[in-house]
């Protein structure tokens, strides 16, 4: 095998490792997610509405393994929407209040 080809293979391997590391690092910043979708309507109405399925899409599929990975555990403080939680406006599409736990 020509020496140049060996070098190419080494560089390609290094590239793969760095790309994987970069991808993993970017997922550690989950709290600040981005949304560039313009507002579809100006504001919420303070009315009770059923909960739509607006959860963010599932993360990209992991490499094939012998068994499917278990789903991520739910948040320890996930508030049910659709007049859930403390039944106030922010559980119905209104602005979020300043409560610290519900």
């Amino acid at each position: 095998m020509p020496p140049q080809l060996n070098k190419s293979l080494i560089v390609v391997a290094l590239l793969g490792v760095l790309a994987a590391g970069c991808s993993a690092a970017s997922t550690t910043h989950a709290p600040a997610t981005h949304s560039t979708v313009p507002a579809s309507s100006p504001a919420a109405t303070p009315k009770t509405q059923p909960a739509p399925s607006t959860q963010p899409p599932a993360p990209p599929a992991a490499p094939p393994t012998s068994s499917a990975p278990p789903p991520p555990p739910p948040s320890s403080n996930a508030i049910p929407q659709g007049n859930g939680g403390d039944h106030d406006a922010d559980n119905n599409g209104g602005p979020s209040d300043g409560d610290g736990n519900i």
Binding site: P2, Q4, L5, K7, S8, V11, V12, L14, L15, L18, A19, G21, C22, A25, S26, H29, P31, A32, T33, H34, S35, V37, P38, A39, S40, S41, P42, A43, A44, T45, P46, Q49, A51, P52, T54, Q55, P56, S75, N77, A78, I79, Q81, G82, G85, D86, D88, A89, D90, N91, N92, G93, G94, P95, S96, D97, G98, D99, G100, N101, I102
Partner: protein, 211 residues
């Protein structure tokens, strides 16, 4: 053959540099500033920072109304265009609604309820938004050491999308530590094109009094 191999190596090296640069930019876009005091500072990599000029401590304008938290822990001032609306027990909320009942401006004062603090407020608030109401939340600016009447605060400006109806709001959210109590003040309005807040809301935050 040797020439083509060198060209291939050069190409791969260029791709490697581009990947590293992209990785660095992605990391930078999530950085948050940690300024000790002063006006709310924009997060590096963001552009649409709403105006927060009204954050300076100033008494509420004449004609504004006031509502106190239980025990007079804090006093929320709100303009006459807003009126008190129902909220969690022990909290105070005021809103201006459209003719169809949609929120145009929203203020809320809530006594400290959880583990929020001056130090952890930015992360706490974003995490709570995502746990509670929002499918997405984006930090736009933050500041610590913000002066309030009777105390000091940690503030963020963020934009979020509600899980219900996917409404877009921009909020100025401050955790305010007084001498004997701590509370949270929220000022929010629909995000219209770019993240901005009505001046009346930032003025209301600047007039927030704690003890």
């Amino acid at each position: 053959m040797a020439t083509s191999s060198r060209a291939a190596i050069g190409f791969i090296a260029a791709v490697l540099v581009a990947v590293l640069a992209g990785c660095g930019m992605a990391a930078a876009s999530h950085q948050v500033s940690d300024r000790p005091a002063g006006t709310v500072a924009p997060v590096r990599g963001t552009t649409a920072v709403p105006p927060v000029r009204g954050l300076a401590v100033r008494p509420a304008p004449a004609g504004w109304r006031r509502a106190a938290l239980p025990g007079d822990q804090a006093v929320l001032a709100y303009p006459p265009s807003m009126h008190l609306v129902s909220g969690d027990p022990g909290t105070v909320s005021a809103a201006q609604l459209s003719s169809s009942g949609a929120y145009l401006m929203y203020l809320n004062a809530t006594p400290r309820q959880g583990t929020e603090s001056l130090r952890n407020w930015p992360a706490f608030r974003l995490r709570h938004l995502l746990d509670d109401d929002a499918s997405a939340a984006r930090l736009l600016a933050q500041s610590r050491g913000v002066s309030f009447a009777g105390g000091t605060g940690s503030c963020i400006v963020d934009a979020y999308v509600t899980k219900i109806h996917r409404h877009h709001y921009t909020e100025l959210a401050c955790y305010v530590q007084g001498r004997t109590s701590a509370s949270v003040i929220i000022a929010a309005a629909p995000t219209a094109g770019r993240a901005t807040l009505p001046r009346a809301l930032t003025r209301a935050v600047g007039a927030y009094q704690t003890r």
